[in-house]
Protein backbone atom coordinates (compact mmCIF):
# COMPACT_ATOMS: atom_id res chain seq x y z
CA UNK A 1 0.00 0.00 0.00
CA UNK A 2 1.14 3.48 -0.85
CA UNK A 3 2.11 5.47 2.24
CA UNK A 4 0.74 9.01 2.68
CA UNK A 5 2.73 11.28 0.41
CA UNK A 6 4.39 13.74 2.75
CA UNK A 7 6.00 16.33 0.46
CA UNK A 8 8.37 19.26 0.46
CA UNK A 9 10.63 21.50 -1.63
CA UNK A 10 14.19 22.71 -1.06
CA UNK A 11 15.00 25.75 -3.17
CA UNK A 12 18.46 27.20 -3.67
CA UNK A 13 18.22 30.79 -4.83
CA UNK A 14 20.56 32.72 -7.07
CA UNK A 15 22.06 35.70 -5.24
CA UNK A 16 23.68 38.96 -6.38
CA UNK A 17 25.29 41.57 -4.13
CA UNK A 18 25.07 44.73 -6.22
CA UNK A 19 27.39 47.61 -5.54
CA UNK A 20 29.68 45.57 -3.29
CA UNK A 21 33.37 46.18 -3.99
CA UNK A 22 34.21 42.48 -3.55
CA UNK A 23 30.96 40.54 -3.60
CA UNK A 24 31.02 37.19 -1.84
CA UNK A 25 27.92 35.03 -2.26
CA UNK A 26 28.47 33.14 1.00
CA UNK A 27 28.61 36.22 3.19
CA UNK A 28 25.79 37.83 1.19
CA UNK A 29 23.63 34.76 1.86
CA UNK A 30 24.45 34.83 5.58
CA UNK A 31 23.70 38.54 5.75
CA UNK A 32 20.38 38.06 3.96
CA UNK A 33 19.18 35.31 6.29
CA UNK A 34 20.40 36.98 9.47
CA UNK A 35 18.69 40.22 8.46
CA UNK A 36 15.41 38.31 8.13
CA UNK A 37 15.82 36.56 11.48
CA UNK A 38 16.50 39.86 13.24
CA UNK A 39 13.63 41.66 11.49
CA UNK A 40 11.16 38.92 12.41
CA UNK A 41 12.48 38.48 15.97
CA UNK A 42 13.55 34.92 15.28
CA UNK A 43 17.16 35.76 16.02
CA UNK A 44 18.52 34.66 19.41
CA UNK A 45 18.57 36.95 22.43
CA UNK A 46 22.02 38.42 23.03
CA UNK A 47 24.18 35.88 24.84
CA UNK A 48 22.17 32.88 23.63
CA UNK A 49 22.89 30.64 20.70
CA UNK A 50 20.37 30.52 17.86
CA UNK A 51 18.06 27.56 17.49
CA UNK A 52 20.44 25.66 15.29
CA UNK A 53 20.15 22.71 13.02
CA UNK A 54 20.95 19.33 14.54
CA UNK A 55 23.13 17.32 12.17
CA UNK A 56 23.30 14.15 14.27
CA UNK A 57 21.07 12.19 11.91
CA UNK A 58 22.24 13.57 8.56
CA UNK A 59 23.60 10.88 6.26
CA UNK A 60 23.50 12.19 2.68
CA UNK A 61 26.05 9.55 1.65
CA UNK A 62 23.63 6.66 2.05
CA UNK A 63 22.75 5.21 -1.33
CA UNK A 64 19.28 3.79 -2.06
CA UNK A 65 20.89 1.08 -4.18
CA UNK A 66 22.65 -0.16 -1.05
CA UNK A 67 26.37 0.62 -1.01
CA UNK A 68 27.44 3.47 -3.24
CA UNK A 69 29.42 2.60 -6.38
CA UNK A 70 33.11 3.44 -6.15
CA UNK A 71 33.78 7.03 -7.12
CA UNK A 72 30.45 8.43 -5.92
CA UNK A 73 30.85 11.68 -4.09
CA UNK A 74 28.20 12.55 -1.57
CA UNK A 75 27.94 16.26 -0.83
CA UNK A 76 29.57 17.37 2.38
CA UNK A 77 27.51 19.05 5.04
CA UNK A 78 28.60 22.52 6.01
CA UNK A 79 27.72 23.05 9.62
CA UNK A 80 29.35 26.38 10.33
CA UNK A 81 27.08 28.58 8.24
CA UNK A 82 23.78 30.21 9.14
CA UNK A 83 21.22 27.52 9.64
CA UNK A 84 17.90 28.48 11.15
CA UNK A 85 14.62 26.75 11.88
CA UNK A 86 11.61 29.02 11.37
CA UNK A 87 8.36 29.03 13.31
CA UNK A 88 6.52 27.71 10.24
CA UNK A 89 8.64 24.56 10.46
CA UNK A 90 10.87 25.49 7.51
CA UNK A 91 14.66 25.52 7.41
CA UNK A 92 16.39 28.68 6.11
CA UNK A 93 20.13 28.37 5.62
CA UNK A 94 23.26 28.91 3.57
CA UNK A 95 24.07 25.99 1.31
CA UNK A 96 27.35 26.25 -0.60
CA UNK A 97 27.14 29.78 -1.98
CA UNK A 98 23.35 30.19 -2.01
CA UNK A 99 20.55 31.00 0.38
CA UNK A 100 18.30 27.96 0.58
CA UNK A 101 14.86 27.46 2.03
CA UNK A 102 13.34 24.05 2.68
CA UNK A 103 9.59 24.14 3.13
CA UNK A 104 8.08 22.35 6.10
CA UNK A 105 6.68 18.90 5.40
CA UNK A 106 3.36 19.24 3.59
CA UNK A 107 0.46 16.78 3.28
CA UNK A 108 -0.62 17.68 -0.26
CA UNK A 109 0.32 19.62 -3.40
CA UNK A 110 -1.78 22.65 -2.48
CA UNK A 111 0.03 22.99 0.83
CA UNK A 112 3.37 22.85 -1.02
CA UNK A 113 2.26 25.77 -3.19
CA UNK A 114 1.28 27.73 -0.06
CA UNK A 115 4.70 27.17 1.55
CA UNK A 116 6.59 27.76 -1.69
CA UNK A 117 4.83 31.11 -2.06
CA UNK A 118 5.57 31.82 1.63
CA UNK A 119 9.24 31.12 0.85
CA UNK A 120 9.15 33.72 -1.93
CA UNK A 121 7.67 36.23 0.51
CA UNK A 122 10.36 35.35 3.07
CA UNK A 123 13.02 36.00 0.42
CA UNK A 124 11.40 39.33 -0.47
CA UNK A 125 11.17 40.33 3.22
CA UNK A 126 14.82 39.29 3.67
CA UNK A 127 15.90 41.55 0.80
CA UNK A 128 14.04 44.50 2.35
CA UNK A 129 15.54 43.79 5.77
CA UNK A 130 19.12 43.50 4.51
CA UNK A 131 18.75 46.66 2.46
CA UNK A 132 18.30 48.64 5.66
CA UNK A 133 21.63 47.28 6.92
CA UNK A 134 23.65 47.97 3.77
CA UNK A 135 25.11 51.24 2.46
CA UNK A 136 22.60 53.03 0.18
CA UNK A 137 24.39 52.07 -3.03
CA UNK A 138 24.37 48.35 -2.21
CA UNK A 139 21.62 45.78 -2.56
CA UNK A 140 21.32 42.01 -2.23
CA UNK A 141 18.97 40.48 -4.80
CA UNK A 142 17.57 36.95 -4.89
CA UNK A 143 16.51 35.02 -8.00
CA UNK A 144 14.39 31.88 -8.11
CA UNK A 145 15.97 30.17 -11.11
CA UNK A 146 18.40 27.29 -11.62
CA UNK A 147 21.15 28.53 -13.88
CA UNK A 148 23.33 31.59 -14.44
CA UNK A 149 23.46 30.99 -18.20
CA UNK A 150 27.20 30.35 -17.93
CA UNK A 151 27.26 26.70 -16.98
CA UNK A 152 26.56 26.95 -13.25
CA UNK A 153 23.44 25.39 -11.83
CA UNK A 154 21.71 25.26 -8.43
CA UNK A 155 18.71 23.21 -7.57
CA UNK A 156 15.10 23.10 -6.57
CA UNK A 157 14.77 19.68 -4.99
CA UNK A 158 11.55 17.83 -4.26
CA UNK A 159 10.91 15.20 -1.60
CA UNK A 160 8.31 12.45 -1.52
CA UNK A 161 7.76 9.91 1.24
CA UNK A 162 7.53 6.40 -0.22
CA UNK A 163 7.27 2.94 1.24
CA UNK A 164 10.52 1.13 2.00
CA UNK A 165 8.89 -2.06 0.70
CA UNK A 166 8.98 -0.90 -2.93
CA UNK A 167 11.96 -2.19 -4.93
CA UNK A 168 14.12 0.82 -5.78
CA UNK A 169 14.49 -0.38 -9.39
CA UNK A 170 10.74 0.04 -9.88
CA UNK A 171 10.92 3.58 -8.56
CA UNK A 172 13.76 4.30 -11.01
CA UNK A 173 11.74 3.00 -13.98
CA UNK A 174 8.57 5.00 -13.41
CA UNK A 175 10.24 8.10 -11.98
CA UNK A 176 12.47 8.28 -15.06
CA UNK A 177 9.50 8.05 -17.43
CA UNK A 178 7.81 10.87 -15.55
CA UNK A 179 10.85 13.13 -15.13
CA UNK A 180 11.89 12.92 -18.78
CA UNK A 181 8.43 14.01 -19.94
CA UNK A 182 6.85 16.17 -17.18
CA UNK A 183 9.08 19.06 -18.25
CA UNK A 184 6.49 20.01 -20.85
CA UNK A 185 4.47 21.66 -18.07
CA UNK A 186 7.12 21.97 -15.28
CA UNK A 187 9.88 23.60 -17.32
CA UNK A 188 10.77 27.18 -16.38
CA UNK A 189 12.22 28.01 -19.82
CA UNK A 190 15.74 29.12 -20.76
CA UNK A 191 17.44 31.02 -23.55
CA UNK A 192 20.40 29.19 -25.05
CA UNK A 193 22.20 26.05 -23.99
CA UNK A 194 24.82 25.15 -21.42
CA UNK A 195 25.57 21.66 -22.64
CA UNK A 196 29.36 21.28 -22.83
CA UNK A 197 30.53 21.32 -26.43
CA UNK A 198 27.45 23.06 -27.77
CA UNK A 199 27.58 26.66 -28.91
CA UNK A 200 25.27 29.05 -27.13
CA UNK A 201 23.36 29.84 -30.32
CA UNK A 202 22.70 26.22 -31.23
CA UNK A 203 19.64 26.06 -29.03
CA UNK A 204 17.41 29.11 -29.28
CA UNK A 205 15.07 28.56 -26.40
CA UNK A 206 14.44 25.46 -24.38
CA UNK A 207 11.77 24.22 -22.02
CA UNK A 208 13.91 23.33 -18.99
CA UNK A 209 16.58 25.18 -17.01
CA UNK A 210 18.08 21.94 -15.73
CA UNK A 211 18.17 19.51 -18.67
CA UNK A 212 21.62 20.72 -19.79
CA UNK A 213 23.05 19.74 -16.40
CA UNK A 214 21.69 16.19 -16.17
CA UNK A 215 24.34 13.70 -17.20
CA UNK A 216 23.50 10.34 -15.62
CA UNK A 217 20.45 8.09 -15.34
CA UNK A 218 20.85 7.16 -11.65
CA UNK A 219 23.32 8.34 -9.04
CA UNK A 220 24.13 9.78 -5.65
CA UNK A 221 25.71 13.06 -6.75
CA UNK A 222 23.91 16.37 -6.75
CA UNK A 223 26.70 18.81 -7.69
CA UNK A 224 28.40 17.02 -10.58
CA UNK A 225 27.37 14.21 -12.92
CA UNK A 226 23.80 15.00 -11.86
CA UNK A 227 21.39 12.09 -12.36
CA UNK A 228 17.74 11.92 -13.47
CA UNK A 229 17.01 9.81 -10.40
CA UNK A 230 18.95 10.66 -7.27
CA UNK A 231 19.67 7.78 -4.90
CA UNK A 232 20.24 9.67 -1.66
CA UNK A 233 18.76 7.34 0.94
CA UNK A 234 18.14 9.51 3.95
CA UNK A 235 14.47 9.24 4.89
CA UNK A 236 14.50 11.65 7.87
CA UNK A 237 11.89 9.23 9.21
CA UNK A 238 11.56 5.61 10.31
CA UNK A 239 14.01 3.99 7.89
CA UNK A 240 12.45 0.57 8.29
CA UNK A 241 9.15 1.87 6.91
CA UNK A 242 10.06 4.73 4.60
CA UNK A 243 12.21 6.04 1.83
CA UNK A 244 12.36 9.68 0.84
CA UNK A 245 12.59 10.08 -2.92
CA UNK A 246 14.92 13.06 -3.31
CA UNK A 247 14.34 14.62 -6.73
CA UNK A 248 16.97 16.94 -8.17
CA UNK A 249 15.99 17.01 -11.85
CA UNK A 250 13.33 19.73 -11.72
CA UNK A 251 13.23 23.48 -12.24
CA UNK A 252 12.14 26.05 -9.67
CA UNK A 253 8.81 27.43 -10.81
CA UNK A 254 7.40 30.93 -10.64
CA UNK A 255 3.98 29.69 -11.75
CA UNK A 256 1.92 28.28 -8.89
CA UNK A 257 0.08 26.02 -11.32
CA UNK A 258 3.40 24.55 -12.45
CA UNK A 259 4.52 23.92 -8.85
CA UNK A 260 1.13 22.37 -8.06
CA UNK A 261 1.42 20.02 -11.05
CA UNK A 262 5.10 19.24 -10.50
CA UNK A 263 4.59 17.87 -7.00
CA UNK A 264 0.99 16.71 -7.45
CA UNK A 265 1.65 14.54 -10.49
CA UNK A 266 4.89 13.16 -9.07
CA UNK A 267 3.17 12.19 -5.81
CA UNK A 268 0.55 10.35 -7.87
CA UNK A 269 3.16 8.57 -9.98
CA UNK A 270 4.94 7.48 -6.78
CA UNK A 271 1.69 6.12 -5.29
CA UNK A 272 1.05 4.19 -8.51
CA UNK A 273 4.60 2.85 -8.34
CA UNK A 274 4.18 1.67 -4.76
CA UNK A 275 0.95 -0.13 -5.62
CA UNK A 276 2.35 -1.43 -8.92
CA UNK A 277 -0.51 0.25 -10.78
CA UNK A 278 1.34 1.64 -13.82
CA UNK A 279 -0.01 -0.36 -16.79
CA UNK A 280 3.30 -0.58 -18.64
CA UNK A 281 6.94 0.37 -18.22
CA UNK A 282 7.99 3.32 -20.38
CA UNK A 283 11.71 2.68 -20.67
CA UNK A 284 13.54 5.15 -22.86
CA UNK A 285 16.40 3.80 -24.98
CA UNK A 286 18.60 6.72 -23.91
CA UNK A 287 16.96 8.55 -21.00
CA UNK A 288 19.48 11.40 -20.65
CA UNK A 289 19.38 12.16 -24.38
CA UNK A 290 15.57 11.93 -24.27
CA UNK A 291 15.44 14.40 -21.36
CA UNK A 292 17.48 16.92 -23.37
CA UNK A 293 15.51 16.25 -26.54
CA UNK A 294 12.23 16.99 -24.76
CA UNK A 295 13.70 20.20 -23.38
CA UNK A 296 14.59 21.41 -26.90
CA UNK A 297 11.43 20.33 -28.69
CA UNK A 298 9.00 23.21 -28.40
CA UNK A 299 6.65 21.44 -30.82
CA UNK A 300 6.24 18.65 -28.24
CA UNK A 301 5.87 16.33 -31.22
CA UNK A 302 9.23 14.58 -31.54
CA UNK A 303 9.14 10.81 -31.05
CA UNK A 304 11.27 9.41 -28.22
CA UNK A 305 12.68 5.94 -28.67
CA UNK A 306 11.80 3.22 -26.17
CA UNK A 307 13.94 0.15 -25.47
CA UNK A 308 11.45 -2.10 -27.31
CA UNK A 309 12.05 -0.12 -30.50
CA UNK A 310 8.70 1.69 -30.47
CA UNK A 311 8.40 5.43 -29.93
CA UNK A 312 6.26 7.81 -27.88
CA UNK A 313 6.08 11.60 -27.58
CA UNK A 314 6.46 13.40 -24.26
CA UNK A 315 2.78 14.32 -24.49
CA UNK A 316 1.89 10.69 -25.22
CA UNK A 317 3.79 9.50 -22.15
CA UNK A 318 2.08 12.12 -19.97
CA UNK A 319 -1.39 11.20 -21.29
CA UNK A 320 -0.63 7.59 -20.41
CA UNK A 321 0.56 8.40 -16.87
CA UNK A 322 -2.39 10.76 -16.31
CA UNK A 323 -4.90 8.09 -17.40
CA UNK A 324 -3.25 5.53 -15.13
CA UNK A 325 -3.37 7.97 -12.20
CA UNK A 326 -7.04 8.71 -12.79
CA UNK A 327 -7.89 5.01 -12.91
CA UNK A 328 -5.86 4.48 -9.73
CA UNK A 329 -7.68 7.19 -7.79
CA UNK A 330 -11.07 5.94 -9.03
CA UNK A 331 -10.42 2.39 -7.85
CA UNK A 332 -8.27 2.88 -4.76
CA UNK A 333 -9.24 6.34 -3.60
CA UNK A 334 -7.03 9.35 -2.99
CA UNK A 335 -6.22 8.98 0.72
CA UNK A 336 -2.49 8.47 0.14
CA UNK A 337 -2.14 11.36 -2.30
CA UNK A 338 -3.81 14.32 -0.61
CA UNK A 339 -7.53 13.45 -0.83
CA UNK A 340 -9.59 16.10 -2.62
CA UNK A 341 -6.41 17.84 -3.76
CA UNK A 342 -5.51 14.76 -5.83
CA UNK A 343 -8.72 15.20 -7.82
CA UNK A 344 -7.79 18.83 -8.48
CA UNK A 345 -4.33 17.70 -9.62
CA UNK A 346 -5.86 15.18 -12.03
CA UNK A 347 -8.30 17.71 -13.52
CA UNK A 348 -5.57 20.29 -13.89
CA UNK A 349 -3.15 17.72 -15.35
CA UNK A 350 -5.69 16.69 -17.99
CA UNK A 351 -6.57 20.30 -18.87
CA UNK A 352 -2.93 21.30 -19.25
CA UNK A 353 -2.11 18.32 -21.47
CA UNK A 354 -5.13 19.22 -23.62
CA UNK A 355 -3.91 22.82 -23.90
CA UNK A 356 -0.36 21.75 -24.76
CA UNK A 357 -1.74 19.47 -27.47
CA UNK A 358 -3.85 22.23 -29.07
CA UNK A 359 -1.39 25.10 -28.78
CA UNK A 360 1.09 25.62 -25.91
CA UNK A 361 0.67 29.40 -26.23
CA UNK A 362 -2.81 28.94 -24.70
CA UNK A 363 -1.05 28.24 -21.40
CA UNK A 364 0.84 31.52 -21.03
CA UNK A 365 -0.91 32.08 -17.68
CA UNK A 366 -0.12 28.62 -16.30
CA UNK A 367 3.20 27.31 -17.61
CA UNK A 368 6.47 29.15 -16.99
CA UNK A 369 8.28 28.25 -20.20
CA UNK A 370 5.30 29.44 -22.24
CA UNK A 371 4.86 32.64 -20.21
CA UNK A 372 8.55 33.49 -20.59
CA UNK A 373 8.56 32.66 -24.31
CA UNK A 374 5.63 35.02 -24.83
CA UNK A 375 7.55 37.85 -23.13
CA UNK A 376 10.75 37.12 -25.04
CA UNK A 377 9.01 36.98 -28.43
CA UNK A 378 6.96 40.10 -27.76
CA UNK A 379 9.98 42.07 -26.53
CA UNK A 380 12.16 40.90 -29.40
CA UNK A 381 9.57 41.91 -31.97
CA UNK A 382 8.86 45.28 -30.38
CA UNK A 383 12.52 46.30 -30.34
CA UNK A 384 13.54 44.34 -33.44
CA UNK A 385 16.28 42.58 -31.48
CA UNK A 386 18.85 40.08 -32.53
CA UNK A 387 18.32 36.78 -30.77
CA UNK A 388 21.69 37.21 -29.02
CA UNK A 389 20.77 40.61 -27.59
CA UNK A 390 21.70 41.02 -23.93
CA UNK A 391 18.29 42.52 -23.18
CA UNK A 392 16.65 39.17 -23.95
CA UNK A 393 19.10 37.41 -21.63
CA UNK A 394 18.38 40.01 -18.94
CA UNK A 395 14.67 39.39 -19.40
CA UNK A 396 15.22 35.65 -18.95
CA UNK A 397 17.00 36.21 -15.61
CA UNK A 398 14.68 38.96 -14.41
CA UNK A 399 11.63 36.75 -14.94
CA UNK A 400 12.84 35.03 -11.74
CA UNK A 401 13.66 38.19 -9.72
CA UNK A 402 11.87 37.96 -6.35
CA UNK A 403 11.68 41.72 -5.74
CA UNK A 404 8.03 42.66 -6.29
CA UNK A 405 9.09 45.90 -7.99
CA UNK A 406 11.30 44.07 -10.49
CA UNK A 407 9.87 40.59 -10.97
CA UNK A 408 8.72 39.96 -14.53
CA UNK A 409 6.93 36.74 -13.58
CA UNK A 410 4.82 38.82 -11.17
CA UNK A 411 3.74 40.95 -14.15
CA UNK A 412 3.17 38.13 -16.61
CA UNK A 413 -0.46 37.53 -15.60
CA UNK A 414 0.18 34.10 -14.09
CA UNK A 415 -2.82 32.37 -12.54
CA UNK A 416 -2.55 31.98 -8.76
CA UNK A 417 -3.87 29.12 -6.64
CA UNK A 418 -3.07 30.60 -3.24
CA UNK A 419 -4.39 33.80 -1.63
CA UNK A 420 -1.62 36.15 -0.56
CA UNK A 421 -3.14 36.23 2.95
CA UNK A 422 -2.76 32.47 3.20
CA UNK A 423 0.88 32.67 2.08
CA UNK A 424 1.58 35.57 4.50
CA UNK A 425 0.27 33.49 7.38
CA UNK A 426 2.36 30.52 6.23
CA UNK A 427 5.52 32.59 6.69
CA UNK A 428 5.13 32.05 10.45
CA UNK A 429 2.48 29.33 10.93
CA UNK A 430 3.30 25.66 10.34
CA UNK A 431 1.05 23.38 8.28
CA UNK A 432 -1.49 21.73 10.62
CA UNK A 433 -1.37 18.28 9.11
CA UNK A 434 2.24 16.99 9.36
CA UNK A 435 4.91 16.77 12.08
CA UNK A 436 6.02 20.27 11.01
CA UNK A 437 3.15 21.47 13.22
CA UNK A 438 4.95 20.12 16.29
CA UNK A 439 8.28 21.66 15.25
CA UNK A 440 6.73 25.03 14.46
CA UNK A 441 4.70 25.20 17.68
CA UNK A 442 7.76 24.30 19.77
CA UNK A 443 9.63 27.22 18.21
CA UNK A 444 6.69 29.60 18.58
CA UNK A 445 6.08 28.72 22.22
CA UNK A 446 9.35 27.48 23.69
CA UNK A 447 12.20 28.81 21.51
CA UNK A 448 14.22 29.64 24.64
CA UNK A 449 14.33 25.95 25.63
CA UNK A 450 14.91 24.53 22.13
CA UNK A 451 18.62 23.94 21.62
CA UNK A 452 18.45 22.40 18.16
CA UNK A 453 16.02 20.87 15.73
CA UNK A 454 16.07 18.87 12.55
CA UNK A 455 13.54 17.05 10.39
CA UNK A 456 12.94 14.17 12.77
CA UNK A 457 13.82 15.43 16.24
CA UNK A 458 13.93 18.44 18.56
CA UNK A 459 16.42 18.86 21.40
CA UNK A 460 15.36 20.74 24.55
CA UNK A 461 17.38 22.17 27.41
CA UNK A 462 14.97 22.70 30.29
CA UNK A 463 17.71 23.12 32.87
CA UNK A 464 17.53 19.58 34.26
CA UNK A 465 21.14 18.78 33.59
CA UNK A 466 20.92 16.65 30.49
CA UNK A 467 19.40 17.62 27.15
CA UNK A 468 16.12 16.01 26.13
CA UNK A 469 15.58 14.85 22.58
CA UNK A 470 12.05 14.39 21.25
CA UNK A 471 12.03 12.05 18.30
CA UNK A 472 9.59 12.55 15.38
CA UNK A 473 10.22 9.65 13.03
CA UNK A 474 6.60 9.51 11.86
CA UNK A 475 6.01 12.44 9.44
CA UNK A 476 2.23 12.19 9.70
CA UNK A 477 2.21 12.47 13.51
CA UNK A 478 2.64 15.62 15.60
CA UNK A 479 -0.25 17.30 13.74
CA UNK A 480 -2.74 19.74 15.22
CA UNK A 481 -5.14 16.80 15.63
CA UNK A 482 -2.54 14.89 17.68
CA UNK A 483 -0.88 17.58 19.77
CA UNK A 484 -2.82 20.83 19.25
CA UNK A 485 -4.68 20.55 22.55
CA UNK A 486 -1.50 19.57 24.36
CA UNK A 487 0.17 22.84 23.36
CA UNK A 488 -2.88 24.77 24.56
CA UNK A 489 -2.65 23.08 27.95
CA UNK A 490 1.12 23.32 28.50
CA UNK A 491 2.53 26.52 29.96
CA UNK A 492 6.18 25.57 29.65
CA UNK A 493 8.57 23.27 27.83
CA UNK A 494 8.88 21.15 30.99
CA UNK A 495 5.10 20.65 31.00
CA UNK A 496 5.23 19.66 27.36
CA UNK A 497 8.03 17.14 27.88
CA UNK A 498 6.21 15.62 30.87
CA UNK A 499 3.03 15.27 28.88
CA UNK A 500 4.91 13.74 25.94
CA UNK A 501 6.66 11.34 28.29
CA UNK A 502 3.36 10.33 29.88
CA UNK A 503 1.76 9.87 26.47
CA UNK A 504 4.70 7.81 25.30
CA UNK A 505 4.90 9.93 22.14
Amino acid sequence: MAVPKTLGLETEYGIVHRGAPEPNPISASSLLINAYLIATHQAPEPGRAAVGWDFTDETPGNDARGGAPAGSLAPEIETHLVNAVLTNGARYYVDHAHPELSTPECADAHSVVVYDRAAELIAARSMEAVRRLLPPDEEIVVYKNNSDGKGNSYGCHENYLVSRAVPFSRIVTHATAHFVTRQIYCGAGKLGTETPGMRLDEAGYQISQRADFIEEEVGLETTLKRPIVNTRDEPHADAAKYRRLHVIVGDANMSQVATFLKVGTTALVMALTEDDAVPRELRFATPVAALRQVSRDLSLREPLELVDGSTITALGAQWELMAAARAYVETRGADAVGGEVAHQVLDRWEAVLGGLERDPMELAAQIDWVAKLRLLEGFRERHDLDFQDARLRALDIQYHDLRPAKSLAARAGLETLVHEDEAELAMTEPPPDTRAFFRGRCLQRFAAEVVAANWDSIVFDVGEGSLRRVSMTEPTRGTVAHVGAMFDECGSAIDLLRRLGAAGA
Binding site: S147, D148, D201, L298, D359, P360, R380, F387
Partner: protein
Protein backbone atom coordinates in the same frame (compact mmCIF):
# COMPACT_ATOMS: atom_id res chain seq x y z
CA UNK B 1 24.78 38.67 -38.10
CA UNK B 2 21.22 39.86 -38.63
CA UNK B 3 20.06 36.49 -39.86
CA UNK B 4 19.94 34.75 -36.53
CA UNK B 5 17.64 31.88 -36.01
CA UNK B 6 14.41 33.11 -34.51
CA UNK B 7 13.21 31.77 -31.21
CA UNK B 8 11.15 28.88 -32.46
CA UNK B 9 7.53 29.05 -31.57
CA UNK B 10 5.83 25.74 -30.99
CA UNK B 11 3.75 24.63 -33.96
CA UNK B 12 0.10 24.58 -32.98
CA UNK B 13 -1.78 21.44 -33.87
CA UNK B 14 -5.51 20.73 -34.07
CA UNK B 15 -6.12 24.45 -34.07
CA UNK B 16 -9.30 24.03 -36.14
CA UNK B 17 -10.91 22.11 -33.26
CA UNK B 18 -10.47 24.88 -30.74
CA UNK B 19 -11.72 27.75 -32.86
CA UNK B 20 -15.42 26.83 -32.83
CA UNK B 21 -16.48 28.22 -29.42
CA UNK B 22 -14.01 31.08 -29.24
CA UNK B 23 -15.07 34.71 -29.81
CA UNK B 24 -14.34 36.16 -33.24
CA UNK B 25 -10.64 35.74 -33.82
CA UNK B 26 -10.02 39.39 -34.66
CA UNK B 27 -11.66 40.64 -31.45
CA UNK B 28 -9.90 38.13 -29.26
CA UNK B 29 -6.63 38.71 -31.07
CA UNK B 30 -6.69 42.48 -30.57
CA UNK B 31 -7.56 42.03 -26.90
CA UNK B 32 -4.61 39.71 -26.36
CA UNK B 33 -2.36 42.07 -28.28
CA UNK B 34 -3.41 45.03 -26.12
CA UNK B 35 -2.64 43.02 -22.97
CA UNK B 36 0.77 42.07 -24.29
CA UNK B 37 1.47 45.68 -25.27
CA UNK B 38 0.73 46.85 -21.73
CA UNK B 39 2.97 44.15 -20.36
CA UNK B 40 5.80 45.09 -22.73
CA UNK B 41 5.42 48.74 -21.68
CA UNK B 42 5.96 47.61 -18.10
CA UNK B 43 8.95 45.50 -19.04
CA UNK B 44 10.46 48.52 -20.80
CA UNK B 45 10.14 50.37 -17.50
CA UNK B 46 11.53 47.77 -15.10
CA UNK B 47 14.09 45.84 -17.17
CA UNK B 48 17.65 46.24 -15.92
CA UNK B 49 18.98 49.38 -17.62
CA UNK B 50 22.44 48.14 -18.45
CA UNK B 51 21.49 44.70 -19.70
CA UNK B 52 24.95 43.86 -20.99
CA UNK B 53 26.66 44.46 -17.62
CA UNK B 54 23.82 42.87 -15.70
CA UNK B 55 23.97 39.64 -17.71
CA UNK B 56 27.77 39.54 -17.57
CA UNK B 57 27.86 40.00 -13.82
CA UNK B 58 25.13 37.44 -13.13
CA UNK B 59 27.55 34.68 -12.13
CA UNK B 60 26.60 32.02 -9.61
CA UNK B 61 28.56 29.26 -7.98
CA UNK B 62 27.23 25.77 -8.61
CA UNK B 63 25.13 24.57 -5.72
CA UNK B 64 23.35 21.62 -4.11
Amino acid sequence: MAEREQIRKPAPANRDQSVEEAPPASERGSDIKAQLDDLLDEIDEVLETNAEDFVKSYIQKGGE
